[in-house]
Subunit: 337 residues, 4 copies
């Protein structure tokens, strides 16, 4: 798996460790509630860094995988897995590589996390922008988390990555139970971006909310996105929903933050917060009805080692995609500054 990062400004201190720590949060086999595939996912920087600093030229990363078992996929050669990309890729390209690791495989998110780690480091060091995401809901188990000060340490303090400890315990229990039945669950990840300067985002088609939405909806298994009050906000009146401007310690702030930090598509300096809906993993061990490539009805009992719930491993992916959108807008804004 390779990844090329173009456009990273020169002069950022960067080592493989900076990237590895996020890859480790995404990697399979990290806990009892993830897939038990063992993928080592060691990153190597092959270009773009010289004497410990980025040079402004493309950064090429390679991640070697020591535990790919293509034979795990042989039984899927002639069958379309329900709600997976098998059928649509076949229709689009007329040909399909049934082994794992293609572009429809969630394995491609490894490159997103690697690139996102570099972007996060830049944003933190050069602009003090902090990005954290956490699991807010698994199936119907919700949680309560304060977005003003939730930290990555809190989030990573348990294997499901939900900082509400009580809720986390229930989530873990549920995932184990559902997993042992060969089934899967979905849920909601919430992401929080603190300390964004006002003015990021472009008018009309490239609003910050539109770019964040596109980034999140491009993650495998994502079916929904809402920023600020989102769908719940549609049940309020304008006078209830509007965020009044106030002056606080000499700066312009809003009393509430239903806007989620974005107004008219442009950041207003408040905390950016949004939610991402993940459907339950489509590959399950439970028997399912489907058809094969000869259009005959068949029963599918997928084997292989799949995640009963992708959310704990998706947390760094959400953070990475948020970082990639923000750095793009942050660098762009320098033109107007």
């Amino acid at each position: 798996m390779g990844c090329i990062i173009d456009g990273c400004p020169a002069g950022l201190e960067l080592t493989e460790k900076d990237i590895q720590k996020d890859l480790d949060r995404r990697k399979p086999g990290q806990s009892d509630i993830t897939t038990q595939r063992k993928e080592d996912d060691r990153v190597e920087i092959h270009s773009g860094v010289f004497e410990g600093k980025t040079t402004g030229t493309p950064i090429m990363l390679l991640v070697r995988n020591t535990d790919a078992r293509s034979q795990d996929y042989n039984h899927l050669k002639d069958v379309f897995r329900p709600s997976h990309a098998d059928f649509t890729y076949k229709q689009k390209y007329g040909i399909r590589d049934f082994r794992g690791g293609g572009r429809a495989s969630a394995r491609e998110t490894l490159a997103r996390v690697a690139a996102g780690a570099v972007a996060r480091k830049y944003l933190e060091e050069k602009a003090q922008i902090e990005i954290v995401a956490f699991v807010e809901k698994v199936k119907d188990i919700g949680s309560t988390v304060l977005i003003e000060d939730v930290s990555q340490k809190d989030i990573d303090s348990n294997i499901v990555r939900c900082p509400d400890k009580k809720a986390a315990e229930k989530m873990i229990e549920l995932i184990k139970e559902i997993g042992s039945e060969g089934d899967s669950v979905g849920g909601v990840i919430r992401c929080v971006v603190r300390n964004t300067p006002a003015g990021l985002g472009e008018p009309v088609f490239d609003k910050l909310s539109a770019r964040l939405g596109a980034a999140m909806l491009s993650i495998p298994a994502v079916k929904g996105f809402e920023i600020g009050s989102g769908f719940a906000g549609t049940t309020k009146t304008g006078s209830e929903h509007n965020d009044s401007f106030i002056v606080k310690n000499g700066s312009v702030r809003t009393r509430t933050n239903n806007s989620g930090g974005v107004q008219g598509g442009i950041s207003n300096g408040e905390i950016i917060h949004f939610r991402v809906a993940f459907k339950p993993t489509s590959t399950i061990r439970k028997q399912q009805d489907t058809i094969n490539t000869d259009m005959q009805s068949v029963q599918l009992n997928a084997v292989g080692r799949h995640d009963p719930c992708v959310l704990p491993r998706a947390v760094p992916i959400v953070e990475a995609m948020a970082a990639l959108v923000l750095i793009d807008n942050y660098l762009l804004q320098k033109i107007y500054g």
Copy 2:
């Protein structure tokens, strides 16, 4: 207001009437529950059409506005309207044109509807793809609509554009009541695309769902997007949620459609359906707390003629944006065909 459409293939029959009919569905003053501003919005085709057919060169449209009253905005010169783009534009550009009609004004959606009308005509005539959107919810008033056969005629049969007549009556009543109080409401628009061929959409970052999401989230006042089962789907298990493949009349279909017609980011031939969350209009007549450009607290009583609910007029905008995303992917797919 001008609009240039580039990339429309040659040979499509096109007249001003094809575009005007969608502009009339978006225009202000069309009913009791929209803003009473009178904008004529007559479209003129200035290039790209020769002897009634598109020539493959850019289509330039001009829409003249006969009722712009810049003086309506004079009282807003020094004040930041809550949840509007006044503050963020000032922060971004350091300068702000406080009159209406700028890029943060919903008036820019006129160009989207004009361009979308051309795209819809192409999709209908060349590919039999049908796009319809309707108001599904206003504040907490929901509705029941069958997405398999809801038609534009049903949708346009009442002024709120909800094909469930009973729900529509309640919605109209609510909008009038809230509007008379100088307040506003939001809601949910649902969009349905029928007869899309399988194979549209691109892997990884340009998934059809991501492109649709970005398009919808770029519409003013939109704060959420979900495709297929969306946020509700996160509470199901994989075995409940997966769409089994079946063969029906010789073609591959799915038994359910929780995927919303998109799997792995690519259309599977089923109905594409998604929901778009609109917050309540931020400009209201009710008195609000805010600050002025000198950072002093002030009370704002916006005058002017604003929509108490943007959803009825937003229906053609949602359809237009869907059409623009689909035509892009449809034309792109010709390369692989």
Copy 3:
């Protein structure tokens, strides 16, 4: 004719006069040696400027044409003019608008000049970058011009826009003579960019030289581009051709400038200079062999009012395209600064 300029930073003072002066240098009928069509070409700024300054939002310009005579083109309806775009457009789109003013018409360069005028103003005021172009050669009449200090005043001191007065006289005489025969001539325009900071241009595919070349080769009638020593430089040895670095008044300079101010695709701070080859105008009054749309041999005697030599009017087009490339790279470089 409309033109939308997106991405111009806020805060630039801009009036219609700033744009008009370059349009007047491009407009038809400006002298004895250009086409005698009278096009008034008055520019109006319709958006993006507020109280005399750009607002950072798109600048929409309209230029009204008072002397378009579509009937001038009626005799060309069924015939393919040699070396013109009639045939290729018909092949590409299957349909062709035979009247003037389409995208293959040099009239589209009006928009380039308008946009370029804004870019030049920005570059001059914010970065002291000066761009001047002049006619260096008409057919085989060359000239001698010092690129270090040639000014726009010198260039505009005669109607052919060649600052070498003696050569200019011969060029004007030749153009009149050839024009009176119903024939046309081509030539070479040279462009000089002074005071560019080092560091503009991007590696690999977007080298400054590649971007300048593409911009120039996109101008109608251009068939060649060379930067620095260009084709003549291919006859030197490396030791003769290399530009030695020296230190002069405390800054790094080069002794010679065969590189034309660009090394490895990136500006080095020296004067950027390049040449653009214009073929003779293809529309001539002299009788020519060609075929009609029924593939029959015909004789064409084009009427209408065409330029015997496009170069004098192309000078502001070359400057405009250079300005558009430079501003793009200048703004981009702010990201790395």
Copy 4:
């Protein structure tokens, strides 16, 4: 060195051999007149090909280099080589990786040749489009070659890649002589594209001529580009230069081809032909004046193994870039077909 090819349609038969044969034509050490560095440049296909055919997903290629000697570059650490990118990269990024292999190194052209080989195969098999380039001139030694039927076999029949055998002998002799003096020479490569359908290229900014020009000017050491009659065409009159349309064997053709196969920016079905000017290699062994990074005058005696003339190895690069431009336009044209 890695290379990712995105957008290659599914179903093309592809093996490593298809790519290797062009890499071997570019590789160092292939003859007496190229650099004597030994780089094996073995290509491996890592994704995008399944059971011998492309799958429509990105094709990842890796080329391993067995003879990189970073220590060859140590003496260049503190010095700016004349007419090389050392100084401009330092100015742009503030940091510079002085070892070989960066983006300013001609070694990046390896990826261009690899990608171009795939494009050429597609164009040949699916559209019978043939692309051949050859060395037309070295310093002031010209040659005579018929572009209608020159073949790759003729071109590769000698080590300088000039199909005019007599001229080739003189060129080889000159390169050896100049190389033995530690100096270098430049020259002109001509490229011929046969059997292009009419209609490729886009109006205004993306003319086929502009895209080809940009592609060629992005190749290291290129300082000029001309299509068709180019600079020489500027000395003709319109009546001499225009290409009359005729009908030949039932198809529309032109009597002459001064246009170089492109009219109004769009291919007309004739042979596309253009010339590319390469300056003499800037890295020479001969002693040169320059400065070091402390701005002191120094004498540079570059060691290392450099090409006395890059043209023989640049032939496949020119062909590759032409193929990449053409495939892009060929696939795009399918939308309008």
